[in-house]
Every structure is written in C-alpha cells, then in structure tokens.
C-alpha cells in the first residue's frame, strides 16, 4: 500500500468515526422516536397514531401549531421585509438604532421575552394594572394574542437579517437595466429585485416557521388554553416517564413531519425558479427628509422600542421589590440579585459549566467535521452532511425526548447525568457550528494548503500551520454565537435535566411557573449579562465580526 493511499485512508477513517458519532447521537434517537410511535404497547393496544386520530385534543394541537406557525411567519415577514428594505435603501433620522435589532433577539432568550411581556401585559402586568386603574380594560394577553405578538417580536429579526443581506447583495445594475428598458422605477424594483430576493425571504420564513412550531418557552408560558404541539408533547413526556413512551414519540413525530413538509414545500418552490444569483454592488441608501422621513423613523422607532421592551423590563424587574408573586413597581431593591448570586447560585454555575463544555466541544467537532465536508470529500461525507444538518429540523423537545428514550439505560446510560445536558446542547447547536465553519473553509482556497504541502510540509501540519490560523477569527466569532445560544437553551435541556442540575433558563422557567417574577428577572439579568459580556468583549476588544459570521 503506498503512502498516498494511507493518507487518503486517514481521512476516510476520521469520516467514519464522525459518521458513527452522529449516527449514535442523532440518528439513533430519531429512529427510536419514530419507531416507538408505531408501537402498540398501551393497555388498550392502540398505537400512538390511532390515539392521535381518535382524540380531538391532539388534532387541535396539530392544527393550532400549524396555524400559529403560518400566522407568525406572515406577521414577521410583514414587519421584517419592509424594515430590511427601508434600512438598505434609505437614510433617515435614528436609523442607527435599527442596527442593534439583531442583537436584541440574540441577547434576550425566549423565556425571558415571554416572561417580561407577561410582567407588562399579563393579568398582574404593569401596563394591564395601570390601564385598568384608569378604567381602560385590557384584553387577556394569554392565548392567541399573546402568542402571536410575542413570537412576532422575537422572530421578525430573522426575516429582517436574511432579507437585508439579500437586498444589500442585490446588484443595483439589474434594477437600472430594467429602468433603462423602459420600466418605471417602482415596477422595475418589483420585477427585478423580488425574484432575486425572494429565495432569501423564503429561506428565513421557513426558519421562522420551524422555530415557531418547535417553540417551547413562549408556547408554554403564554399558550394557556390554546393547545400546542410542543406543550402537549412536553406534558405527555413528563406524565409518561416510566410508562410506555408511545404518545410522546407520536407527538414528536408529528412535529418532525410538519417541519419536513415545510422543508419540502420550500425546496419545491425554490427549485421551480433556479437561477444563479450574482452578488453585485448594492444600491447606496438614499436620504429622505420631511414628513416621510418622520413617518419612517417613527415606524422604525416603534419596532425598535417594542423589541427593547423585554430588555428594559428584565432590568427593572430584577431591581423591583416583590412580595411573593406581587411586584411592587417603583420600590427598588438589590435583594433579588443578592439572593440569586449569593444564596442560590447553582443554576448560574451549572449553566457556565455545561455551556462552556458544550461550546468547546462544539467548536472542535464542527471544525473537524467541516474540514472533512469541505476539503476531504469522500464516499461518507454526504451522509455526514445530512446528519449534521438534521437537528435543524428537530425541535429541542424532540431532541430531548429522543436522547432520554435512547440513553435511559443499557450500554450508555446518561439519564440524570450532566453529560446528557451537554449532549443536548451539542446536538441542538451542531448545524449552526458546522455551517459556520464550512462557510469559512469554503473561503479559504485549497491552493493555500497545497502551496504549503508543495513547499515540503506534510498535510496535517500544513492544515495547522496555514489553514487553522485563517480560521481562528471565524471560530472565535462562532464560539461567541454558540455560547450565547447555548446558555439560553431551554426546550431540550428541560426534557433531559434532573434535579440539582437546573440551568438558568430552566430555573427562570420554573420561577415564572410559580409566578415569582422578581426572582426570575434577577436570574434573567444574570443570563443576559452572561450572553452580552462575551459579545461586547469580542466586538470591542478583539474586533470580531460576529454577525458577519452568521
């Protein structure tokens, strides 16, 4: 066997190892979930699917979930697309504020967003009571209205960012070409820009739909009487522990199916109009003045203010005196923070340890996997590619249930350990890490590595000497993003965690459930700081382009 065959084989064996790891921790749990939904192990002998079709509660949950997904996708598009267009094409007073929008979604975890909206508009909320005191009745925030409003303001930034990038990359010459051919400016924009920007809008819309369908925190806290799939799945899981996991896996399979159908529809729509989009020079923003400028600035300001509301409320809530569930607005105290930092810091410590380990492992694994995917393609890499992207289509609840079902006992018993929480974190953030590292690697031409090899440095050392240094800034930026999204993770960790291993989001969720908003806010403020500090340090001290990495 010659030496080249050996080096080829090193990559093959590494690919095989990666494939096995992914197979065990992603595919095997998924198959477990899907398979046990067909089991007929219940006392009455019906399979999960028979029960699902027989009980209206479950069917309502499915239709409610799809409906909520569609409505929120629509509302976020209606806010996100115009906002992106206006930001890309115009200059108006106060525009700089809009630039911080992506940050708000990132630094305010969903559970805190839901909580703070409740603190304002819930039955005991500040706004509800103030307006009520003036004799203005405020409709209940629980149910559809709360779900739609909160999810809209959490998720519209995804549409905004996706569309903004597409409009900025849109070659203005195409628009000018259309105008030169006699199309009116508005018409030209619609005719030429829309088809080019549409794939980006569709992709981010699908992302939002997936996130809404999988959303656990907002759905549970605000859903109330509206049955939703993720809530019912979680409740079934909690009540089925120790019993046959039939219903939880059936419900989990349904949510997988909904996302799969959405993915399929998106692929179908995009494949009908396949064209190459060449990124060109985007148009320069145009100044606008007078009444239109005020109208624009006003509308943008409303969006920004609403987006910042959770942040402001969590800070206020953390420093507000509370007696049990009653917030005494206007009376300030540091007792809440003292309590969470000194008396009960366990959730903070747990979060730091678990997320720290998960982030480090995630960076190492996704860098390695991406290197195989981009630079060392072989017969196994397409399978690795699919498996690594699979968690995108799975909600946190589904991933959590799959892990508990698969590693509850037997050869690898992880239930009750910290390892299963770290594993849940890793799996949920894997597609993100891999996509990030891959795009960096695609931008590093093969010739650089080959130049090093041609100068006499063996392949592996060449990678370390010339490729890795070029990846470091991107890896660091990805690290910050993986960290921020991992410390905020709730839906998978709440399924797999065990007593004493509460993380911050889990603890906040439990406190909200008990109505202890002040303490929840205090933990929330700690969580936001844990998220915000690395971002601030990375962008100001190390000048990393974190949002460019996304």
């Amino acid at each position: 066997m010659n030496s080249r065959a050996i080096t080829t084989n090193v990559w093959f064996w590494l690919s095989l190892a990666a494939l096995i790891v992914l197979g065990v921790f992603i595919l095997y749990p998924l198959i477990n979930v899907l398979a046990s939904s067909f089991g007929a192990a219940r006392a009455d002998g019906r399979s999960g699917w028979q029960i699902l079709l027989a009980e209206p509660k479950y069917l309502r949950a499915v239709s409610n979930t799809v409906l909520l997904g569609l409505v929120v996708t629509l509302t976020t598009t209606l806010i996100g697309v115009p906002l992106a267009y206006v930001t890309a094409r115009f200059r108006f007073p106060g525009k700089a504020l809009i630039a911080i929008l992506p940050l708000t979604t990132l630094i305010v975890p969903e559970v805190i967003a839901a909580q703070t909206w409740l603190m304002m508009l819930g039955n005991n909320g500040l706004i509800t009571r103030t307006l009520g005191g003036w004799g203005i009745p405020v409709p209940s925030f629980y149910g559809w209205s709360g779900l739609i409003i909160v999810m809209t303001f959490i998720y519209y930034t995804y549409i905004y960012m996706g569309t903004l990038a597409a409009i900025r990359g849109f070659d203005q010459q195409l628009e000018q070409a259309a105008q030169s051919l006699g199309a009116a400016p508005g018409r030209a924009r619609l005719d030429v820009m829309l088809p080019v920007v549409l794939p980006a809008i569709l992709a981010s819309a699908l992302l939002v739909f997936t996130l809404v369908v999988g959303n656990f925190a907002v759905a549970t806290i605000l859903g109330h009487k509206v049955e939703l799939l993720s809530v019912i799945t979680y409740q079934t899981f909690v009540s089925e522990i120790g019993n046959d996991p039939v219903m939880q896996s059936t419900l989990a399979s349904v949510s997988i199916g909904i996302v799969a159908i959405a993915l399929f529809v998106q692929r179908f729509v995009l494949s009908r109009g396949r064209y190459e989009i060449t990124l060109g020079r985007g148009a320069k923003p145009v100044d606008i003045k007078g009444a239109p400028a005020f109208a624009l600035a006003g509308a943008a300001a409303v969006v920004v203010l609403i987006s910042l509301l959770p942040l402001a409320s969590v800070i206020a809530g953390a420093f507000t005196r509370a007696r049990g569930p009653v917030m005494r607005w206007g009376e300030w105290t540091t007792a809440n923070l003292e309590r969470v930092l000194i008396n009960a810091p366990d959730p903070i410590i747990n979060t730091l340890i678990y997320a720290g380990i998960a982030t480090a492992l995630s960076l190492i694994f996704s860098t390695g996997v991406s290197y195989l995917l981009v630079k060392k393609r072989n017969a196994l890499t397409p399978a690795i590619d699919y498996l690594a992207a699979l968690p995108l289509a799975l909600s946190g609840t589904v991933i959590g249930i799959g892990l508990v079902m698969s590693f509850n006992q037997g050869w690898l018993s992880l239930t009750g350990t910290a390892a299963i929480i770290v594993l849940a974190y890793l799996i949920r953030r894997l597609p993100f890490g891999v996509r990030n590292a891959s795009s960096t690697l695609y931008n590093i031409p093969n010739s650089i590595e080959e130049a090093s090899i041609s100068l006499g440095v063996p392949p592996l050392r060449s990678f370390v000497a010339v490729v890795l240094p070029l990846m470091i800034p991107a890896i660091a930026a990805a690290g910050v993003l993986v960290w921020t999204t991992t410390v905020a993770e709730l839906s998978a960790s709440i399924v797999v965690y065990s007593g004493g291993r509460e993380t911050l989001p889990i603890q906040i969720f439990r406190l909200i459930d008990s109505g202890l908003m002040a303490q929840a806010s205090a933990y929330g403020l700690v969580l936001v700081s844990i998220i915000l500090i690395p971002i601030v340090v990375a962008t100001t001290v190390f000048r990393l382009d974190i949002f460019g990495a996304k």
Binding site: S3, P445, S454, L455
Partner: protein, 355 residues
Amino acid sequence: MGGISIEDVSVSYAGNRVIERLSLTIPNGSFFTLLGPSGCGKTTLLRMLAGFLPVESGRIRFGETDVTETPPHRRDIGMVFQDYALFPDKTVFDNVAYGLRARKRDEATIRRKTGEYLERVGLSGFEARRPAELSGGQRQRVALARALVIAPRLLLMDEPLSNLDAKLRVQVRETIHDLQRESAITTVFVTHDQEEALALSDAIGLMRAGKIEQMGPPGEIYAAPVSSYVADFVGAANVVAIRLAGGVEAGGLARFRLANQDIAARAVSWLNEGEAWLLARPEDILLLPTGSGSGLAATILRRQYLGSRTHYRVRLGDDGPVLTVECTGADHARFAPGESVEAVLEPARTLVAPR
C-alpha cells in the same frame, strides 16, 4: 539521463479518463509549457506531477527517482498557483521563508536566501508587508520567490499570469523568463494563452482531450502545425475544407481547386485523396490589387484598421470561402470594402492537413 519523464500515464477524475496513456520527457533545465483549451487535461497533468492527483497507471520519474508513489510534500517541487496562494496572515518575508523553514535551514541562511530572492523579483523592502498590501503583480512575484528559493527539483506553474491585467502579464512574464533561465530549474508551465507559451518556452506540448497533439519548440509548433487543431489554437488560422484529387506524401505539394481556381500547398503529413483542411495564417496571405495576375480573385468584405496592421475579411471568387487576412507594412489599409483584389496563398506557407 535526468529530466522529468512521464511514462504511459493515465489519470481518471470523478470516473472520467482525463489523461489517456500519455508519455512525455522534459529535459533537465528546460522550460516546458502545456498549452491547450480549458478541459484538455493540462492542469490535471500538472497536479499529477505535483502529486496532488494519483495516477491510475504508469510511472513518473524525476531523473532516476520514481516518484509515482511519493506524496507531494516529499517530491521537492515548487509550485506557483493561479490565485497566488500566499499565506494571507504571514508577511512577505515569512511567506518566502516558509519552505526553507520546513527544510530546517539555519536562521542566517534563511535570512540571506530570502533576501536574495526578494531582490531578484524586485521586492526588496517589502519584507514586512502582508499579501493584502501588495498588488496582483507583486503577489505573484512573492509566490515566484517562495517557490524558487527552495531550489526545487521541478518548478510547476499553473496559469500564473491569468489573474493579471495585460500590462502586468508581460512584466511578470519577463521576470519568470529571466529567473528560470538564471536558475535553470526544470519548469512545467500550464497556460491556455498561446502568446505566453510562444514567448517563454523551450518546448510546447499542445494538449487536446487528454493527449499531446503536438510537441516541439515554439517555432515548429507555429510554422509546422500537424493538424488544423494546432494551427487554429496557436496563432489564428483560416481553416477551409477542401477536396484533394490525389494522395500526397508528407512535405509534398498537394494540388487542389479553391473557389474554382487551381492552387498548391504543402502537406503536413501523408494524405489520401479526398477531404482535407487547408490551413493559412492571416499574416501569410498577401493581398494585391486586381490585375497583378499572381493570386486568386477575391473581394474585400470588411476592413478593421488596427493601427500597426489591418484585418480584412475577404471572399475568394464569387461564392468561395471567406478568409481573414492581416496586412502590415506600408499602405496596409489601402483596400476598401467592396474592392476587388487578388489573394496570394504561397504554397510554402500554406498547409494541407488531414480531416
């Protein structure tokens, strides 16, 4: 003795046979160019010499050493890439010193040699810069110095000039030419640009679909192409379908009719009677005013004045083939469109190739 030899080599890429049983010897110290259109296999052949692509069958020898199984980092090659492939995070000095450091030379030697080669490519004083602070031409000079400073057994260049604009291309081309002649390092140069190939090479291998169609010094490739493909690729050529009345031996004069007139041309190889190609370079056709009596009757269709020369499109006879003719010298633009002229195709400079 010595030289680079490729013996009966086949290469497949993604299931396709890209190089088919190719053999080739490149003498020590010579500058060899692989010329051909994209997809002809020239880059594949180069990457195979570097060791980045495995051969399916056959041997590769650098002198007496069989390197067929040797991985690239042990082949002692220098490589210059189309996109320069400089290490963007390293300074110019560190880029050039990279190969010497890999060879564990002592620091004093590294300093001396790196300085020497940077001076040779005209980049003394640029040591501390990073690639992003250099122009395209400067970057390619750094890449050249980096590949040459290790005094490789074989220098490989993959379209190193194609990312440069026309003026820089000529400058860097001269640098490459001078450095290679000075160092006498055996060089394989890949390009699709015939002018580069003609200007730089000791020998050119013109490739077509994974095979070498013709190999020889630039003058031979240009003046004596073996086929219409070579004639058309190296320098423009008028290629006209003709019918031979009888067979001709190689180098002999073939006689045939063109636009209802008798004409003769040199056969590039042994030809049977029947269909053949007539090859005539635009600059080898002479245009004379009507009545000179020595050429074929023709009409000017179009004229393009290019300053130092004029290009004409000329129809032979009334409905014969249309040829491109390049005229230089005094009064090269004297014929007007619509004018009747005579076109002289001199038998010695006009070729007939098999179809």
